[in-house]
Structures are given as C-alpha cells and as structure tokens.
Amino acid sequence: MTVEDHVIFIVDDDASLREALIDLLESHGLRAVAFGSAGEYVEASKPDVPACLILDVELPDINGLDLQRQIAEGDYPPVVFVTGHGDIPSSVRAIKHGAVDFLTKPFSDGDLMSALRAGLARDRQARAERGELAALRERYATLTTRERDVFPLVISGLLNKQAAAQLEISEVTLQIHRRNVMQKMAAASLADLVRMAEKLNVPVTHSRRAGNT
C-alpha cells in the first residue's frame, strides 16, 4: 500500500483528535487529510484516488449524518462515522445510507483500521465499476441511431425477422445493424450484450412471444 494510491479524510471539530488520528494513521502508513468542519471538507479539492472518510457526527456547522446525505449525490468515499455519544437511531440511519462503520469514541485501533480497510476496498471496487460503466457508455455512444433502435429489440430476444418487421426494414439490414452493435459494444455473445444492456439501463421493451409491444 503506497502513500499515493489512497487517502483518508478526517472531519472532526476537535483539533486534538484530528492530530491524534493523523498520527495514528501515519503510524499505520495511511495518508490522511483532516478538516475542522464539513464546509472545509466540501470546499477542499480531493485527489482522484481510492479514499475513505472518517466523519464525526457532531460537527459545528452541520450534522455528520446530513453531510453524508448531501455528498451521497455524487461519487463520495465510503464513510466511517465516529461519535461521542452514539445512539441507535443515528447508527441505523448511518449504516442505512451506506456507512462502512459507526464507531463510538473512544474507539479501538483495530476497529478503526479494519473499517478503513473495508472502506478503501469498497471505494476501489466502486471506482473500477464506474470505469467499466464509463467505457460501456463510451461504446454505446458510438452506436448510430438505427443501431440504438436495433439494440433493445435484439436484447429483448426478438427473432431477426420480428425485429426487422418492427423497424420495417429488411432482415438482411437488421443483421448488419445487429452485427455492428455487437462489434461496437465489444460483446462476445448475446448474453454479454444483455449484461451490458442491463448496466446501461437499456430497457427490454419487447417480448418475443407477444410479437409486439
């Protein structure tokens, strides 16, 4: 685990705890950046590397849980909550919204580290998935309008002649479009293409049995 391929954000209003956490994380070889308030964190520029956020529930400007809800809109790192007096509703709410862990101060070194590792791992995976989806979208963007018409018909499982009739084009033309779709989407098989469609939210609009919409 190198210093550059990750970062741990700390948001806590208690300066001494911030210092202690940075020190602790450094002793574990983790790069950490600390902020005194939610506003500072939001404003700061963040490196595009796998990250995890240690977030205090009680913050001077905004509740940590509210911050979690706010940043949930975008791509945000997994959150590890720390709180002075944790209550059950808060922890349930935090976990429901995707928090990695909810630690009560004072917390143990082991709990924190395992939570952080889990968080980093989750972020890494999410990033990878985002990357794959971006690639898929890029490929999808290369499709022509006609090919996009053909796409849902093919993944809906329509026979070629059914799809051709649907679009009022010849079967041969449809086959050409279908081949292009497969090539452009770099799909190894129809099943592969169906999987991609699912990720791209291409809807299954037709049923082979009904024969129409």
Partner: protein
Amino acid sequence: MPVMALCAVAAVLAWSADQPFGLLIPIAALFLSVHGHRAYLLYAVVTIGFLASLLVGAANGGTVRDHAMSAATFFAMALCMGAVVSTGTWPPAASGAVWGAIWRILRPYTPLRVAGGAGSGESIVPNGSPSPSVIHPDDRSAVAHAAAYAFWTGVPQVMSYRHRQPDGSYRRAELRAEPGYGVSVDVDAMVSGPDDRWTASDALDETAEVVRAAKVIESLHGKAWAFDAEGKFIYVTPAAQSAIGMSVDDLNAPVRGGAFVDGGDVGWSRGVHPDDYADAAAKLRHCLRTGNYWNVEYRMLRATGQYVWHRISARPAYDDQGKISGWYGTSIDIDVYKRTEAALRASERALSQLIDLVPSHIWRLTSDGQPVFFNKRMVDFLGVDVAGAREPGASRLEALMEFVHPDDATVFKDAFDRCRVSGDSFSTRYRLRRADGAYRWMSSRAEPIRDNGGRIVQWYGICHDIDDQMHTEEALRRSERRLQQLIDAVPALIWSTTQEGRPTYVNKRFTEVTGATLEDITASDGSPSLSVIHPDDRRVAMEAVVSAFETGRPYVMRYRQLRRGGAYRWTETRAEALRDESGAVCQWYGVSVDIDDLVSAQQALRERERELSHLVDMVPSMLWRLDPDGEPVFFSKRMVDYFGLDVGECGTPPVGRLAAAVSALAHPDDAARLREALERSLAHGESFELNYRLRRADGVYRWMSGRAEPMRDESGRIVQWYGLSHDIDDQVRGEEALRERERGLRQLVETLPAMIDCAAPDGEPIYRSRQLREFLGYGLEDLKEAGKSGLTATLESGVHPDDLAVVRKKYAQSLSTGEPYARRHRLRRFDGEYRWVETRAAAMRDVEGAIVQWNVICLDIDGEVRAQEELGLARERMARAGHAASLAELSASIAHEVNQPLAAIVANSNACQRWLTAEPANLERALKTVERIIRDANSAADVVSRIRALFKHSSEARGAASIATVIAEARDFMAEEAIRRGIRFDVAFDNDLPVLVLDRVQVQQVLINLVRNGMDAMGSTPGAKVLGLRAYRLEDLVRIEVSDRGPGVEFPEKIFEPFFTTKKDGMGMGLAICRSIVEAHGGRLWIEENEPRGARFIFTLPVERTASP
C-alpha cells in the same frame, strides 16, 4: 284581233259543218288583215299544217289517209290564197327584209327620182336593193334602227338624217315611216314611174311657170303642186295624187256652185277635213284675190280614208304684167307635228297646272339671279307677281329680299351669292313674309340649268313651306331638350341598351355619379360590362340581366353600385323593354335609383327590430301584450317556450283567450284570484301586479310575479296592455327555505348548550339565548328597569367582584379596538353561585368592515377549570419524575465531554505504541505522541473537575476579580452569538464597581447562562431585541441585572427549581445551578417583570468580605 277571232270562229263553224273548203274565205280574210310577223306566223302555221297532213297521209291508210289528204289539199289552197291575197313581193327574203323596207321608204326621196337616174349608179345596188350609202355613215345605224322599229312594230317613225347629194355633199332629210301609208302601198306606185292615170294633167301647159316651179319643188321636196290664178289645179305630184286618191281632174271637178274662186266647191273639198275646209278655202280665195302667200294647215284625206294634218304653202307666180299667172306650192305632212304639238300643249297645260298645284313655291331665276317666274302658289303667298316684285331702282332680287325675314336675310343672301358664283346647288332655310305679313319658315332649294357649254342659263328653285314642320321640329327639339334636361335632372341613373344588351345611352347623372361613361360599361364584345356593380352582386345581376334579355320580361334588381371615389352604394335598377308594333323588343330602358339610404335604413330598422325582438326574447322574463279588451295578442318566445302555449293556441271565441289561458295555466288555487285581479285591472285601467302559480310546459306549477301596465294614447284611451311575468318560484322557495333556515338557526342557537349573547357595537346586549337567560335567571327585558345601561347592569350584577375590573377593562378595550375578546372569569348564577365561564366575543362586520354586532358566547367551564387545576398539579409531578429520569441523559452529556479527550488519548496511545514497536522504533514521533497524550488527559481531568465544581459549590477557586471585567468577558463571549441572532446589548455599569472575591468561572457561567436565557426568550419577539446588562453598587452589594424584552416569565416561582424548564431541549438545570452558585457566593438571584415587558433577572454579590482583605 276581232277579225282574227271572227275568222277563227268561222273556221271552226265551217270545219264542224264538214265544209272545210268554206274556210278558205275566212282564211283569205285573215291573210288580208294580218301584217308583219303575224303574217309570218300565219304562213308558218298553214305550212306546218300542210306538211303535217302530208306526213299523216303518207304514214296511214284508209279514211285517215283520205282525211289527211283532204286536209293537205285544204292547207295547200290556203297557202295559195295567202299568196294571192298578199302582195307579190311577199313574203320577202328574210335577209333583205329590213333594207328592203328602208329602201321602199327612201325611194321617193332619192336623187334618182330627181335627177332622172343620171349619175346615180352607186345609189342603187345592181340587184335592185336599196343601198345605205346615200345615208351619212353616222346616221346609218339610227335610220336602220328606226326603220326596223317601224317595220316590226307598226309605230310611225319620223327622224331626220343626212342624205348624200350627187355632188357628195349631205343634206338633211327627214325620214317618215308609217304603216299603211308610207310603206306598203304607195312606194310601188312611185317606183313604177308616172302612171297614166296620175299624170293625166301633163297635157296641160307643162311649161307653165307654176308647174315648173312645182316640179322644182317636187324635185326638192318630193311633193308639189300648182294651180292657176283661178285656183284650179294644174299640177299635182303624182305621188300626192295617189296618196290622196284623187287626180288633178278629180280635184278640179266642180261639186257645188261655180268656180272655186267664186265660192264654189270643187273636188278638192272632198280631200279636206270638213272642219278645216271652210277656213282653208276662205284663206285660199282671199289669197287668190290678193296675191298673198297662202299658208294654211288642214287635215287632208288620204286615199286610205285617214285625215292627216298637212301644212300647205302656196305662192303666186307673176307674169310679165305683174299679174298673177298661177300658184305653186307644196304640202308638208305635219300630222306628227300636229299631234306632237297637241300632246305638248296638253302636257304643257298639265305641267303648268301641276306647277301651280304643287304645294310648293316654284320659281326660276336668271343666271344673274333675277326672278323670272313664280308659280301661282308663290304669287298667292307673297301677294305679288314676278313683275310686281320689281321696284324702281332696285333689282327684282333685291325686291325679293324684302320678303325674307331680316334675321335670315344675310344668311340667305350669302348662301345664294356663294351658290351663284360657284354653281353649286342652293339649299337653305329661312323665313319668308307672307302676304298677310306673317313670316313663315321656308326650305329653299335651287339647281342651275346649264347649256352645252356648261354655262349657267337659269336657276330653277323650289321653296317649300316648312313652317309647321319647323315649329314642330322646334317643339320637338324643345321637347327633346326638356326631356334631356329632365333625364339629366332626374335623380336617377338612366340608361338604354339594344335588345342584345349593348349599352347605347347613359344619362349625364350616370357618368357624374358612377364616373363611368358609356364606353366603361360596354365590354369589348359589346355586352354590358358590370364593372360598376359590386363583385359580390355581379353574378346575381348578370343572371338577372341575361334572363331578362332572353325572356324580354322587365326586371328589378338591387345591388351595390360603384360610385366615383370607390364607394359602393345600394342601387335599385329597373329595366323594361320597349317593343315595336309587332311586339319585338327594340330597346331596353333602365333606371337606377340610389336606395342606399333606404337599404341602410331598412337594414338598420331590421337590425333594430331584430335586436328588439332579440331583446324581448332574450329578456329572462316572459313578456306579453293584451289588447284593450284583455285578449292576448303577443307572447314572447321565452313565454311560449316556457308554457308551451302560443297566443294562437289559447282558446277560441266565444271563450276569451285570456280566460282560456288563465284556466289552462293558472294553479286551481290561484285561478280565481288571478282572474279577479285581471278583470279588475282591465275594467279600471289599473296596473296589475300579482304573484300566482302558473303551470309550466312540463306540468310543474311555478310561482310567477305578474305585472301589467296599460299603454294609453293621447286621449287617455287604453291601447295596449304590456305585461311581464317573472318566474319567482326559486325566489319564493328560496325565501321559504330562508325562513325555514332562520327558524332552524334560531332553534339551534336556542338549543345550543352554550350561552349566546348578541350585543350592539357599543356593547349593549340585544339578544340572549335561552341558555343564558336561564343561567342568569332574568332576561333582557328585566334589565331595562334598572335605569343603567344593559351592559353595565349585566357586568355589575353578574361578574365576580375580583374579576370585574379586568373584565370591564378588557371588554371596553375590545369594544373600542374591535379585537376579539376572550376572557375567563367567574359569573354569578341565578342561585348566587359564582361559576367559571369563558366568554368570547367577536365582532361581526359588514362589507365595509364596520362593526355591526358583537356576537358573544359564554361557556360554563367551571368544571373544566377545576379539573384542569387538578390536572396541572398532576402533570407537574409527572414532569419532575420525568426530568429525574433524564439524569441518564445528563450523564451522557457529561460522558461526551469526557469522551472527546479520551478518544484522542486512545488514538495517541495506539499511535505511540505503533511508533515504539516499529522497526526501528520512531522515538521522536512516539515522544511527540506521548506529549499529546498528557495534554489530552489533563484536558479530560479539567472537564471532570469542572463538572464536579458545578455540583460541589467548592470555594477553592475563588479569587479577587473585577466584576466589570467579568461582565465584559461574558459579554464578549456572547457578542458573536448576539450579532447572529440580531440582538443588541445595552450595557451600563458604574465605574467604581469594587473588586470582589469570587469564582470567576462560576460567575461567568451564571452570567452566560442568564444572557443565553434572555436571548432565547427574545427569539420570536417582534420589535427591537435589546438585552440589558446593568451593574451598580447598592450599599454593600453589587447588583447585577440581566433584562430581556421577551414575553416574560409565566411561573416566576418555579423557574429556579431544578429540572423545571420551559425549553424543549433544556434540562431545567441552568437556573437552579445559577441560583446555587450565587447563593454560594452569599448573594441572591430572583426575577422581576421588566418594563415595558419581558423579564429581568437580578442577582447580588456581597462587597464587604472582599473589600476588607
């Protein structure tokens, strides 16, 4: 022809009598009587008959042949008869017939006879036919023509031609051709030379001078004679002798009496027409005696039995002694002249009569313009003759000019002079003075007569009285002008077209009004152009026009016509055809009248009528009209629709329509009332107004409000009744419902388990519900007797004396401001018991917002108030228990304060451990971490000791401190929060505040706590948020006040108790701790009401202990 007819009849008779040869006699007569081409025809017929008979005879046999041969014999004999009867030279050779005839005519005049045949070989062609060479070449054709004409037609011809003389010169000769005289008989005798019989007198002294002279004459003239001095004929041209059928002896033969000269008659007398004889004989005798020339004309009897006019001239010849030796003379046939003259004279007479009778003036002028002839009519007209027109010193023309009207004289003279010079025909009109002095219009024309040289010889003129015509024309012109003016003045557009529709005329107004000329309304093909008609009307107009032109029927149409300037106006056009006697259309006359105003007015009228009728129908009421007798004459549409009954449908006489309508529509309960009211109104002319029920078309009876007013004429007599029925059923029912609801409401109010009171805007009660009356034990009426106002009486007698002041004040305030009033107070019941009631009052306002009434409700809440008091106590107890339970929460709060440093300590410890256990150990970092651990641990310990200090009231921490500084610190500490919440500090303290011994943190805590409480209290306060901080010395105390302008403290005694709080999230510990702190310092903490509002916390701190060290 009678001869021929007679012959034909005789022939038929003879033939039928089987005596064919008897026919020869009539045929001979026939031959004798016919001449010319008829003779040819006769010959041809007989010849054809002969040939035909021969052919028939040759072709047939038996009796037919006998008959045919008999007929042929007959025809042959007839031919022979013809030949015998006719002259030997007849029939002539066809080719020489004409010239043969001419020759026979000319024979007596040829020089052959005169010159005794000498040198005249060329005159006669060798075969004896006459030669035309003796006739001048220019005259040959004319002579030939005349001869031929005479020969073939038998009409006498006289013409002159130039006859060549032996010496080659030409002399004029006269050719006469006359049937039966000049041609057929006499010529032969002349040709045959002197006959014995005719020349018997040659035995006389042929050498007598007169005879010689006569012969000379004969040679010159063809006819001559001579007689002696006694009048006895001694020579007569043989031809003449044969012509008159008398020889010289016959002429001299005595008839009666003695010698001619002595008055006896001789044979000559027989040759003279008896009428002429006496005169001729007398003249001859006179001449014989006197020797004068005898020139006489008489009718001479020809041998043929005809009398022919002759002019006979005779001159005496004298012997040496100067004695008349004889007479010689000649006679000229002047029969033709005579007859011509007679005819001429007759003609001239007729002409003269004609000229005099012609109803015109005829005149003649000389070439220089002098009148030479006026006809009788003109003379009669002018009253003067040509001669009479002459005046001394003036030409006749100038005299004539006197008769011309002075106005026309110049024109007339100019025209006449111009014509006279140029020779053109003269034509002019002028007025001429009649004999009676009246001028009459004349139309005069004159033509010049020119001689062969083209010179004007005379002017012939005619002058026609055209006065009547002129007057007629003038009248006509005037009438036409008047008509034209009329047409132009008529305020209508007038036009005419041919029967095909080609426009031929438009009047001036047409062009003025429409700006279109005749050309503009005529299309290129001659059809009428409709360019002046509005395009929308053009098609209809065209149809009307075409249909009219086809059928010939008059038409009327309305259309919009283009006006000068482009405007269209409604126009009515009427057109009718003018027909000739046969009924055929020869012209169309049309007139267009501007009816725009009319149409507009009509449209406006129609529009208004429509609007009115619309109005009548749209008015959401039923309108109707009755005649003075009360019979309905009109129902509005709405009424008809409403009742399903039209005027015409309600009843027939003798039952009145009104009565029928009433009985049909009115509700049985109302019918009598309605009828009576109507009859009364109709009878007295009063306005009618009644509410009643009528049956609607669907059978439902509905309330109606009926009104009717009579309309009267000037004399006050009722002309019409106008009525209006208004459906007020909903209104009536609404009113009923309203009344019902009001009753219900009143019942509701009365029965509501609440005491209701209504008061006037000044608070005077005007209504009290039953509940209230029962509660109080008296009603409004009982209050009046007291003499005070109802309000005061009620308040004084009812409200508990403890509450009276407040109630009166608050109620008066509400009355004056209009704010709702709500108050709990005790009210005296009828039995004397005071019960808690809640009185609420609200103002009822009208639309303008002014208070109309106060509605007051008064609820007996005595039981509730008491129950609430119980409940309040119980709740307080419960709350305290609850707050005690929340001590756990307090501890949690404390734990949070402690956990914070603890978490840092744990983290740092872990880090330190990792730095120390690292390979190699990072001692530097570990040391730094340990320092932090110490710091954080101290911090945690501070927190704990402070909490303890709160509760333990320890005085160890006390020290001398300036109270002003402490207050300033507290203010500074809260300054930021104050700005954030919009609160202004109002700080004021004495400058000589003493130094006090106190726990600085604790006193600060108290101040901050009080300041924060004040701020919280003003969180929702309207108006200025001012937090007052005040400190001043009061004897041996320092008094510190913290005031706010919030709503104040409701329970001033309870707020200092632990766990009592008015805040949602507070624990109720703050003020309790504050009070314990202040009391630990030997002071007091309490609360007062702040002025003008809010709360003021005051605490004191003792001075003396600190003042004396």
